[in-house]
Symmetry: C2
Subunit: 100 residues, 2 copies
DNA sequence: TCGCATGTTCTAGTTTATACGAACAAATGA
DNA sequence: TCATTTGTTCGTATAAACTAGAACATGCGA
């Protein structure tokens, strides 16, 4: 459980972001992270297996939406708000408004 | 070449819209339609085969993004701007700004 | 009526997701 | 040191997408 790859936000394509958001589970994750600020993977599984959640978080990381850091034994996830706002101004706000 | 299925905009889920926009070809189509207002399928193929374009337009229709009507032998496509703005306020504007 | 143009539908092939169990890695605490 | 917890990685099975050719339907003009 160590070393996550986070792409430079400039390398993220708009299509990648849309793709990441096209799955209900991931859209829910983004929505929850926006409200909670941070959350572990386990806190957001809906009874889904760990491997499935790990997969979805990875897609979100690859799309530049989520950043993950380790804290002890757990992984803390949060949105890359500032960077997203800089590179895709307005997008996150609309997504969070509509997904709420 | 007749009778297209256009879902009621209320039945369209946000994920469906994101999914439709997650393909570069389709994002390009949406972008072009926004500028041109209307266009036939043939006008927007980039040398791609007709069947591929037909597929992408169908995905866009199913996601509520595009409406198609027949005019003689050709199919005229356009964005469902007003309906999208009503059901997903702000979304199209952001998409078109960022995809430009 | 015949031929042409525009798209759709069908089908197949290849690729790409998704889901999930099992094995594994790392950190923590007993 | 050993068991526990959290999450990753691997392998595999199933489902869905993308691409594209071929056949087909429709409308129009010659």
């Amino acid at each position: 459980m160590r070393s996550y790859k986070h792409p430079a936000i400039e390398d993220v394509r708009l299509e990648d972001v849309f793709y990441a958001l096209s799955d209900p589970v991931r859209l829910e994750i983004v929505n929850r992270l926006a409200r909670k600020g941070e959350a572990t993977c386990a806190a957001l599984d809906g009874g889904r297996p760990k491997s499935s959640m790990s997969h979805h978080f990875r897609v979100l990381r690859d799309a530049g939406l989520v950043q993950t850091r380790n804290e002890g034994v757990q992984a803390i996830n949060s949105l890359r708000r500032d960077e997203l706002d800089r590179c895709f101004p307005g997008l996150l706000a609309v997504v969070l408004t509509l997904a709420a």
